[in-house]
């Protein structure tokens, strides 16, 4: 066995025996950083959902009536539905660009558990869509004359809820990434799964307006998030394998 050959095989064996634990952390962190730099360079993708959110909120007073009392009653549900639709808007592009240029295929071939890498991508989506929506919602709450005292609860429930929205939505995005016009199908798949999160999210804001405990609603939102965190990554990994390898 010529000396050169053993060196090459040793490197490979070294790579595999060497600390898989930190190897995974390095890979997840690198994927996170890569997507953040990428989205930082294409600010349009980050801003579009936010402008869509503001636009949808503007349509309702014009469509229904600018009367503050009426708006105040529908404001919590309205803000939550609009935030949910805006999060849905940017889901389609979650895996699409990676699918088109072949880096999704390479992601599947990485020697690391795919659910963890999928989680990194979903985390980026939440950081750049869910969180900004949650921070922007109170401002739009003012336009809908949302009663005082519920602004913080609105932001907290949206931040917590949008995390599970991203996780659940990513499953749909992974399933439809292979299809050329997957956008509409994605929303049909994912919206029914969003209903529990919507119920307890809007419920939390409603409860904080009426003054009684919104903590119960937040607890359930947290439970939904924990459930999604446990199950969604594996579903995303399976869906990606199905989409890529046909």
């Amino acid at each position: 066995m010529p000396r050169g050959e053993s060196r090459l095989i040793d490197d490979a064996r070294l790579a595999s025996r060497g600390e898989p634990r930190t190897g995974l952390a390095v890979a997840v962190w690198a994927t996170l950083k890569r997507d953040l730099t990428q989205l930082a360079r294409r600010r349009g993708d980050v801003l579009n959902p936010l402008v869509f959110f503001a636009l949808v909120i503007t349509l309702f007073p014009i469509g229904i009536s600018p009367d503050p009392e009426l708006l105040a009653t529908i404001a919590p549900g309205l803000l939550w539905v609009a935030a949910l639709l805006s999060a849905l808007l940017s889901l389609d592009s979650l895996f699409r660009s990676d699918f088109d240029d072949g880096s999704l295929e390479q992601l599947l071939l990485a020697p690391h558990p795919l659910p963890m890498l999928g989680l990194a991508k979903v985390a980026v989506h939440w950081l750049l869509t869910g969180l900004p929506l949650a921070l922007m919602a109170p401002v739009l709450g003012i336009m809908l004359s949302l009663p005082a005292g519920s602004y913080l609860m609105l932001a907290v429930s949206l931040a917590l809820g949008s995390a599970s929205l991203s996780l659940i939505g990513a499953i749909g995005a992974a399933l439809t990434v292979g299809l050329s016009r997957g956008g509409v199908l994605l929303s049909l798949l994912v919206l029914p799964l969003y209903i529990p999160v919507l119920i307890f999210g809007a419920g939390a804001v409603q409860a904080s307006i009426l003054g009684d405990g919104a903590a119960a609603h937040l607890a359930i939102l947290g439970a939904l998030l924990a459930l999604a965190l446990m199950l969604a990554p594996w579903a995303i990994a399976a869906a990606l394998r199905i989409s890529i390898n046909g």
């Binding site: 349009g44 503007t58 600018p66 009367d67 004359s145």
Partner: protein, 246 residues
């Protein structure tokens, strides 16, 4: 006349001529805005009904005027670019859009703040403010569309078409919103339909408007020059310029 348009169209010639014009506009803008501000804030009489919050008019009205005229000039530049293929016009249109959006935001914010003492809330679905909000969305649409294309040429054409479509819709939006507003709030006080103002009130306003317009022209000239360098960077005259002006 014809050769003049094409001469104006050549970036190199425009770059030269604008260098001479720009300082004048900067000086005019600075003087007019300074004089207008001091006069409007300190010397003009307070409004008998609204007291001193009326002084916001010296910022709100110029910004509102500019917001609309920047969109119109963007559309005109779009027509010039599409019909006579003058690239400088498109460069100017590209550089105007963000300033237009900023002016619309200023008009929106100052209008809302102005209404707080009278309405008691930070936002009121008033006819003028709603049209201004929709104008802001039009601006964001044009900016987002221009940023979404990879090839600069199609981006310019698409943004010009959208600007033209938008400018036609501005009056339509304005009248429909006014009609919607009177439908829901027939007899209520709108801040900006005012009886004729005494001279010592509207004179500083005129100066501020002129100041804002010269600011707009100066800034657009400056940013268009940068855009010329960016787009013509492969041309020899730009490379020589780059080496000279270390």
């Amino acid at each position: 006349m014809w050769s003049f348009i094409h001469k104006l169209g050549s970036p190199k010639w425009f770059y030269g001529i604008s260098a001479r014009l720009m300082p004048w506009f900067w000086v005019a803008a600075a003087v007019l805005i300074a004089v207008g501000s001091v006069w409007g804030l300190a010397f003009a009489p307070a409004d008998y009904q609204q007291g001193n919050s009326f002084r916001i008019i010296y910022v709100h009205v110029p910004a509102a005027f500019l917001a609309q005229s920047i969109f119109v000039s963007m559309a005109v530049a779009g027509v010039v670019f599409m019909v006579w293929k003058i690239k400088v016009a498109d460069m100017a249109a590209a550089m105007m859009a963000p300033l237009g959006a900023a002016m619309t935001f200023i008009a929106l914010f100052s209008g809302a703040v102005w209404g707080v003492p009278t309405w008691g809330t930070w936002w009121m679905w008033d006819a003028r403010l709603t049209s201004m909000l929709i104008l802001l969305f039009l601006y964001l649409g044009v900016i987002a569309l221009r940023g979404a294309f990879t090839s600069r040429d199609s981006a310019s054409r698409a943004a010009s078409v959208l600007a033209m479509v938008g400018v036609i819709n501005i009056p339509i939006i304005k009248y429909s919103v006014d009609w919607w507003y009177t439908l829901h709030q027939p007899a209520s006080f709108t801040i900006t339909s005012r009886p004729a103002m005494p001279t010592e009130m509207w004179l500083p306003l005129l100066i501020m408007v002129l100041g804002f317009y010269s600011f707009f022209i100066a800034l657009t000239l400056m940013r268009t020059r940068s855009e010329i360098l960016r787009r013509e960077s492969s041309k020899r005259w730009v490379r020589e310029l780059a080496v000279e002006e270390r």
